[in-house]
Assembly symmetry: C2
Homo-oligomer: 296 residues x 2
Amino acid sequence: MDLDTYLATGRGVVDEALDRFLPQEDARPAVLHRAMRYSVFAGGKRLRPILAMAAVEAVGGDPRSILPLAVALECIHTYSLIHDDLPAMDDDDLRRGKATVHKVFDEATAILAGDALLALAFEALSSPGMARMRRPERVIAVIGELSAASGSRQLVAGQMSDLLSEGKPVTREDVEYIVWNKTAALIRAATKCGALLAGGSLEEVALLSRYGENLGAAFQIKDDLLDLEGDAAKLGKAVRKDEKRGKATFPRLLGRDEARALMAELLQKAQDAVRSFGERAEPLVMIGGYILKRVN
Amino acid sequence: MDLDTYLATGRGVVDEALDRFLPQEDARPAVLHRAMRYSVFAGGKRLRPILAMAAVEAVGGDPRSILPLAVALECIHTYSLIHDDLPAMDDDDLRRGKATVHKVFDEATAILAGDALLALAFEALSSPGMARMRRPERVIAVIGELSAASGSRQLVAGQMSDLLSEGKPVTREDVEYIVWNKTAALIRAATKCGALLAGGSLEEVALLSRYGENLGAAFQIKDDLLDLEGDAAKLGKAVRKDEKRGKATFPRLLGRDEARALMAELLQKAQDAVRSFGERAEPLVMIGGYILKRVN
């Protein structure tokens, strides 16, 4: 299996689904829909949707059957980036090599585009394709998982604590709390919900959940390492910001070498969680290796 | 039937449900949960939840069976108020006689508290009480209605267009678009979703939807009239702001007398829509009269 081809194919499928699902740019209010499309199509890796589809494959399902989940995951991820970049939050001008939404449009439009993307995620999860699924109770469970993952005890908790920790002494407990909530929670929800919708057994759902959680935490450590060591041109955003702001990250807490070791350990845990799926989990295992080596 | 008692009882039931459902103030991150509770318990009328429960009664259901919907409606409404009040939006310092969330906390916390309340609405709609309902397909339909009502083609569309219309010449089409999307859409969703969850027939759902839409538009006209004529002390917020900002409202478009006549006409339409329900719709009919006379 060639991972680059796998990821490129996945991105294509997700991009098409997003294009079908997002309101057109001329739909009223046009400026709002332009802002939503600008941010969603700014060159994301589509990691969360691809992981959800790979989890579906791991339990023997058809990845195309869960496209509304793929769309929802990317809408939630994009909404969180738009709001995180706002002047009142991380105040970032550049994301994926392009000006951030509040720079291209304005703050009000950025806030509203983020709000609308969060709502749109739940429109996708309750769209006709989902309503027709054989197990409506699993659709409701998935909505429960994703709303909790987006809420004040996970995604928003992570962002709030990330802001509150700026410039403060870094404790291990704080860094773990931030990484697990800001990043790992939504990635865990991606693989868990994929498995749930594809009819996975409770054990399969638990294993794919463990995979996502560990992979997600490793992904965030890599992000924090790239902020320290990465190439601003390849990353498409400013680097060494975390240090300047005194963010609570594993590299700052442990040093780079130990952070790298922790990342490798988490990726090992993720890969171990899906060994029992055999060949069907090959993409999930390979994505672990990709995260280790990624440069953007 | 005494409407004041009915509304007070409804408020009590909704407040209790909100208190049970919202994370406690000491739940981490405490500042976020304090901000969420501050805004939710700042003295709202709970009109949308009460209307949803009254719609349940109209189709012969038990209003207490849809408390998660009541909670979700109030979370969505409160989120929209927090974000509308932000400096980048309407820049309001006072709401219901209290300082707005970004004044008491800060902008970042206000943005995140709003985000978290929107996510929490969908947690409520997929909570165990909903997952156990006899008709899971109706639960999914309700999530579809509420996510659409909160999204870029309804609630957020209304707020975006409201901002874009500031200081521009007022057209009837613009005012209708803003009023129907910013306010009527969520109130229509309240009565429609109440009827859906309580097992109403398609015809009953359509009638209660028509009731909500017309009542909601009338409610917004009353709001706009109160901005012109109301008492700031009773309203708990500054008055005559719409005029200063050149907002697109019916009183500005038509003059106060004609706007009042349109409001009465819309309330009549709302009340007519539920005549066929007889006694069971008494609260809905009386709420129409309450909106005409309310002073805050």
